[in-house]
Assembly symmetry: C3
Homo-oligomer: 112 residues x 3
């Protein structure tokens, strides 16, 4: 099974929960989760910035094979650049389109 | 691909994000999104009221072909009437049932 | 049709909305919803504790056939035990994995 975590909130508690959910799914002993992807947009983009509070946890998840996609529309609105994101975070033109695409490919949706 | 945006939050920042997500999916250059629908319920109903802060953006999205559905259960609880909503917003008996129906019809779910 | 409500927020207004959505789907006159399940994790676990504000509503939903699943990872992090939850709430190792499993089984996802 595959899951996409939608990291769209600017609320730090919700960002923390979203990352914890991704970590816990990877660690789950049932081994039933084949892939977890994270799409960051809107207020959630802060959680994947290189100087953000969660940068180390994002790096660790990337190292564990979790793809992160940052929304280019959000970057533009927030006057950020791809280089402001944690190394390894890819960008997609619009986060919500990517989340739609992943659900169409069979990913379950999680917005903790 | 089709997407449903669940506008259920009374938080203005989340309401703004939900509408921005709908707008950005329409504008996406990949042209991969065939329809975006919005279901408003609970605190999210405020965002689709005729005298609400986002009325003009809702009107513009309606003009662009985005169907909006307001939850009749929420209207009753909030002592609102269909006539309090932006012209063109339809009502459904229960928003969550409509969101379920749309997902069963193949819509991806987004709750930004 | 079947729906899973993801009760992941520590925000009381969002917890109240999640329970109201489950109640309204059960009561919906269209009778199109065959099952509503609730998965509680992260801050949402508070809503299903035996001494929590919503314990009576959880009991009533359980009586009406709504299965509740509490996340064991969350219980451990919060230093809670299964015995702290409303009687009848089951536990699952990781809430997000359960939500993924239910979506794979055809449940629509709702995170009000």
């Amino acid at each position: 099974m595959r899951s996409v975590v939608h990291l769209s909130s600017g609320d730090e508690a919700e960002q923390e929960t979203a990352l914890a959910v991704a970590e816990n799914m990877l660690a789950d002993e049932s081994d039933s989760i084949d892939e977890v992807a994270v799409v960051a947009q809107s207020g959630g983009i802060e959680a994947v910035t290189a100087d953000g509070e969660y940068a180390d946890r994002v790096r660790s998840l990337l190292d564990d094979g979790v793809p992160f996609k940052g929304c280019a529309n959000t970057l533009e609105t927030a006057s950020l650049d791809e280089s402001d994101l944690v190394d390894g975070v890819e960008t997609v033109p619009e986060g919500a389109v990517e989340v739609t695409r992943l659900q169409n490919d069979g990913y379950a949706y999680l917005r903790p």
